[in-house]
Symmetry: C2
Subunit: 505 residues, 2 copies
């Protein structure tokens, strides 16, 4: 009966959405796709949330920006960065967990929700730690959350292995299921154990507690670096074990590309809309005020908010275009390694700071020293956000056979174009920065000019690059030879790129 | 060369992510999947944003809640609902547009970003309209945005048809491309024309402008209802044209299920985290205050925020579980019609109000009349959010062959279980509502008890339903006959469901 009646439904969308493991008769088993997408949105929102208290810190007009920045830097910015880092660590653990568990059922979905709830609480514990660094309560709360998260994740693993049809086929058919289980549990329970120790030391000697927490974040990178150094020193070959790779911290360990994209999308989306949230809440004038101060003229009242609108559009355009670059980049990336994920996290952390920077640009008097500094900070943030995107690409190029689509590999059709796309923001922001240093009086017009030009640069880029490539082809190599190996050209790569790039612009 | 070197990449993930139309040689063409997911996140955030000004309205303790609620209802809630509705209308138009345009290139991606930027600005124009209903500026701004959005969408259509490889295959091979183009343009340009007229009337006679704007939202439903009435009156058969269905407003018109899910996920994610945003920003005590007021005891200072934490956990759990129900429901829905999309929008609009309701529950003194009303409002909101989810399922059941997976159809394996899952929240909220009416003194404990019980009800549900079904099978029908047609049982469906449900609980 069931076979017969599916005939009327659209088979492709049906297959995509419901991956019920009919062969086993487990009707409650579900594809984990949507659960993971939802978790990604939640985690990305939480990761960027801590920028809000920074953005809402009121800077007095008479204060020098640098002083208040130092204040900010001391607590809030560090809270933001640490939260971003630790939330992405939790997210990476979540990815690895659901690389082993491929299908879910209701119990796993509910356990995952509980886990998410605790993760969303982590930023608050960090705020407490930053405000009361010597009070053990913040650490205790954080450790409590981390321990419970670890236990829930261990529960998810145990449940998954008790119902083997939930696991990836690879482990499902393996004879060493128990070995895998203990290996995974060992990695997952490491964090709770560290946190438990940190919780104890919070009472005895709290600096040690902080060191232990830092160790939780950096342990994977430290241990990997140590291992790499040992291997190099002893001249050993690195071993590769495809399955265990999922539960080590090897820089080339594959992360789920789809989830990296979903997480990045969430961050970009929330960052792009952060300013409109503020505008909708704060920049609607009171009717009484309009009557008294502006002689009932709404346009005049809104005129005061002009800089806010400009900041909004500037920040939306910049975030939107950086998303566009990210989107183009990941379109051609076929495998995301752990190291690329780390670079992506850094890029996203800077992007999270963008709305703040743009908000700063309109908070001060025109042509004041503060305004100039705010504009320069914006340039620096854009530069780093862009340069880390570029770094992802360069990292991918080093191993291009595994990680890149042929189109964008060296000498591929889109290689020059992708390079040009990725360099627009770093170049423009860097030149704006230096221009504002020299022509500090015209910093605001220069900055706004940049905002207007960049979108058109993206629109015209393809045409420009095409013309340039056609010319280049005509002049240098009328009949391009076909290369099967690219290694021989590796050394000439930078020069050629620069050449192409100069011609493009 | 290219063919050869793809061998080293993972073919499955590669195919999923890069759908380059290699046959045409258009190397810049991309699958639109990620662009649409990003647009969905942006639109869902914008749709729910307007709840923030409501949530941040401070209610004085001495005021009666009802009075301030009337104030709120007058402007902010209506702004929230209208924004939600108009943003979902814009989103539905976006869906339809990208049901015709299947692949994108850089120009389309940039045009889409411009479109998104204007959509994110719409809530602000609504705030202006609500605060200054008699000032034409709000209407003019809104109409301006809507006209530009319409023109950009028309540009997207024209560009898409000028590069036919971007269109769905169906239209690509059709000979009537021009007919399709003008038909689609006609539908898209209807909104700008209406808005242009509304903009003109804003100066002459502004109530007419509002009527025209309302018409933009309700036109599809009105025209469809009129058409349906005409058809019924004249006894005509409705015509179905598979392609044109995409550009009519037929209630059975298919919406992209994937995008409905992505949009809902975005709303759920932002709503679930709304309260933690506030907590992170407002509920970290000042170090100086802790020293003075609380004798340096952080725990005592945090004790004051207890109700806030409770409200956060309550709202997260409720939103999370409603997402879980939604997830289970859409897992078994194979096709989303326009009408189901509308019901989903209503459900989401109520869910957007949840954090506000939960925040209200802790704003008043214990056992005050205000607190009781806040709790009852929460119950009503949960009830409607749940009942609209149920309505989606009932609507799907009416056409179950096309819209539902066999498992959840009437007499399917999961039918009773899905019904039980969907009824938990409506039933629990309704009974809490009546219990608080009768036992008004214990309203808070009852409410908190409900919050704690519901997650366990979800965990135990499957076991309970299984036991009940097994018993039922043993008692009533030891050998279940196989039905090929379900029409004959349609009339008995409600009774059976109720019977099953009673036994389940």
């Amino acid at each position: 009966m069931e076979k017969k009646s599916t005939r009327t439904t659209d088979p492709s969308s049906f297959l995509q959405s419901v991956t019920l493991s009919e062969k086993d008769g487990h009707s409650s088993t579900q594809s984990s796709h949507r659960l993971l997408a939802f978790s990604d949105s939640l985690i990305s929102i939480i990761a960027t949330v801590m920028i809000l208290p920074i953005a809402h810190t009121k800077i007095q007009q008479d204060q020098e920006l640098q002083k208040s920045l130092q204040q900010l830097l001391a607590t809030k910015i560090s809270v933001y960065l640490v939260t971003f880092l630790i939330v992405t660590v939790a997210w990476a653990a979540h990815i690895r967990l659901f690389q082993v568990i491929e299908r879910i059922d209701d119990v796993l979905a509910l356990l995952n929700l509980a886990c998410m709830m605790l993760i969303t609480f982590l930023p608050y514990t960090f705020s407490l730690m930053a405000s009361f660094p010597e009070n053990p309560l913040g650490i205790l709360l954080f450790c409590g959350c981390a321990i419970v998260i670890g236990l829930i994740q261990a529960g998810i693993v145990l449940y998954g292995f008790s119902q083997p049809y939930l696991l990836i086929d690879h482990i499902q058919i393996s004879e060493n299921q128990n070995y895998y289980k203990y290996q995974i549990l060992k990695v997952i329970l490491r964090v709770p154990v560290f946190c438990f120790l940190a919780g104890i030391f919070a009472f005895i000697f709290f600096p040690l507690a902080y060191i232990l927490l830092a160790l939780v974040i950096f342990y994977p990178y430290l241990s990997q670096t140590l291992k790499w150094c040992c291997n190099k020193a002893l001249g050993q070959q690195e071993e590769h074990n495809e399955t265990m790779l999922l539960y080590t911290y090897h820089p080339k360990e594959p992360l789920s590309k789809e989830r990296v994209e979903a997480f990045s999308d969430g961050v970009y989306a929330i960052v792009a809309t952060l300013l409109i949230l503020d505008i909708c809440e704060d920049n609607v004038p009171e009717p009484s005020e309009v009557k008294e101060r502006f002689n009932n003229s709404l346009i005049e009242a809104l005129h005061d908010f002009g800089p806010e609108y400009l900041a909004y559009f500037g920040s939306f355009v910049t975030v939107g275009l950086l998303w566009f670059v990210h989107h183009s980049l990941f379109l051609y990336i076929t495998k995301t390694t752990r190291f690329m994920g780390l670079l992506n996290t850094f890029s996203l952390a800077f992007i999270g700071g963008l709305p703040l920077a743009y908000q700063l640009t309109h908070e001060f008097e025109e042509k004041s020293h503060n305004e100039l500094e705010a504009i320069q900070i914006s340039c620096v943030i854009i530069f780093f956000a862009g340069i880390f995107q570029m770094a992802i690409w360069v990292t991918a190029l080093f191993n291009e056979r595994e990680t890149l689509h042929p189109y964008v590999r060296y000498r591929g059709k889109e290689h020059a174009f992708m390079f040009a796309k990725l360099s627009i923001y770093p170049c423009v922001s860097l030149s704006t920065f230096f221009l504002t240093c020299i022509l500090s009086e015209f910093s605001t017009p220069i900055f706004h000019l940049m905002e207007i030009i960049v979108p058109f640069a993206f629109l015209a880029l393809r045409i420009l690059v095409r013309i340039a490539l056609a010319l280049l082809k005509l002049v240098f190599c009328p009949s391009k030879p076909i290369h099967n190996s690219v290694e021989e050209d590796e050394t000439r790569l930078p020069f050629n790129d620069v050449l192409w790039y100069i011609i493009d612009l």
